[in-house]
């Protein structure tokens, strides 16, 4: 959002300069001076705008990188949809990276293979919704979030046993 006021400022400057030029109109020198001043002002505003925009872009990139460093998968305990502390930390980074832009996310909830498929569909939805609710409470509007449960249908690890199951109880942010 930061680049918008800068652009606005530049337009106002340009408008003022041309107004000055049009009104004073008596001397050619004055006109030329006014035009030069307007051009200089516009150029300076533009470079200022570019600098601010690139700084904003850099900041966005930094936040995206910071979020990416946490990864986009959040793990859960068996039959639980409570966010773990490490998930909260990672989510905070993702929430920061979503501020200042209009990006959308898709949250895909997953479970391990234990329990019935339909119950796991419901559990996967609870997990995705737990992540969604945390994001909404922390300022991400709900229309930017879609949550979908895949239950136990899309495992990361195909085998049985806790080492596989723990990888499958997750929400993926995409």
């Amino acid at each position: 959002m930061k680049h918008l006021p800068v652009a606005g400022k530049a337009i106002i400057l340009l408008f003022t300069a041309s107004l000055l030029a049009a009104c004073s109109g008596s001397s050619k020198k004055e006109e030329e001076a006014a035009a030069a001043a307007a051009a200089a002002a516009a150029a300076s505003a533009q470079s200022e705008q570019q600098a601010t925009a690139s700084a904003a872009a850099a900041e966005q990139q930094r936040l995206r990188d910071a979020a990416a460093a946490y990864g986009n998968v959040f793990y859960f305990d068996y039959d639980s949809y409570n966010l773990k502390p490490e998930a909260v930390e990672a989510l905070d980074a993702h929430i920061s990276s979503m501020q200042g832009n209009e990006s959308t996310v898709r949250l895909e909830g997953h479970t391990d293979e234990r329990g019935t498929r339909e119950y796991n569909m419901a559990l996967g939805e609870r997990r995705a919704n737990a992540v969604r609710d945390y994001m909404v409470v922390n300022g991400v509007p709900s229309y930017r979030i879609e949550s979908v449960s895949y239950g136990e249908e899309r495992p990361i690890a195909y085998g049985s046993g806790e080492s596989n199951w723990s990888q499958n109880r997750r929400v993926e942010l995409k």
Binding site: G115, T116, R117, M121, A122, E125, E153, R154, Y158, G159
Partner: protein, 432 residues
Amino acid sequence: MKRLILAIAPVVLVLAALGARAELTIEITQGMDNPSAIAVVPFAWQGPGTAPEDIAWVVDSDLARSGQFAPVSRSDMLGRPSTQKDIFYRDWRAIESEYLLIGRVSAQGTQMRIEYELYDVLRQKQVHAGTETGPANEARMLAHRVSDAIYKKLTGIRGAFATRLLYVSVTRVPGGKDYFRLTLADSDGARPIVLLESREPVMAPGWSPDGTQISYVSFESGRPAIYRQNLSTGAREQLTNFKGLNGAPAWSPDGNTMAMVLSKDGSPDIYLMNLATKKLTRVTRHYAIDTEPTWMPDGRSLLFTSDRGGRPQIYRYDLRTATTERVTFEGGYNARARIAQDGRNMVLVHQQNGRFHIALLDLVTNRLQVLTSTELDESPSIAPNGSMVLYATKHAGRGILAAVSVDGGVKFRLPSRDGDVREPAWSPYMSR
């Protein structure tokens, strides 16, 4: 982070058979203590060339799979009679066969005719004779009807061999997207036909009560939606596309209503959809998980799974009184009930010592009997005659289908030659 674009997954609607190879094979793992010995003699082929199908072998396999019969090996047979006058009872007494089934198969144009006779070896008398006629390309189904008649004659219970199965199979693509297939096959796993293939999950197959339509959930649009499909025309209709869960469709016994799970109003609840008007009626209204609806045979109440008491248990909702009562109390995880046509035998997933088994709950005596001993058993589906329960389990790291009789005495597996198989749905009796 990508935009909310719902990519249309590649979905293929296939109505062609996969060829003659049966995808599922049968391994009988446990039979009854005293099965009846029966000799199913190869039926005489009276048409041109060689017989298109070994009818007697289909019948032999059906009876063996029931666990209640021990078919005599063909190599032990001392003769191959196909008419009454050729029978020498001493040949069958000698190999201790209690019953003898003989028959003849003939063809007229595209039609096939099977004539068969069943004999009691000790009493030396015919106990049943019958014929089956139909299209020659349905030879296996005609054979299953012979099995049904023999089973009925000898056990008093209607056979369920001339029925079909739906199941979901998955081909794993590690690190990528798996292939999901919805398959229709005969009750013995033969003649598989892929009805739907998708890179997105396919779930919860079920049958209309007359066996002409099926329902299922497909994620092909990027989110779950409920579909129904006509088996003879292939025409399909998307029934739901709500935000959140769209799952567990279950046809009412009169075929007019579909029970389903939707979470569009917050948490997963049971809804009824009038299939003619598409009008929805909300059945449950609870912040807990309510899922896996199934109809009692009289259509007056629904069974469903809910964790409203803290852990998943089975509840019953009475549609007339709009009251809910808890049905299961034994154990901390009872889910996904299916009920036999008698309205009495309920099968469900029951957790015991951390393992998931198939159990039978007698709704009259309230006695719960665990039927299986493997540890990740799920999705029980009961045969239309109530005799066997088909379910999904894991064997050697693979998802397979297995079956157990309702008394727990007979067990067999239907391993797949490739891929994981799950979510079996046994058809109702098929009309001819």
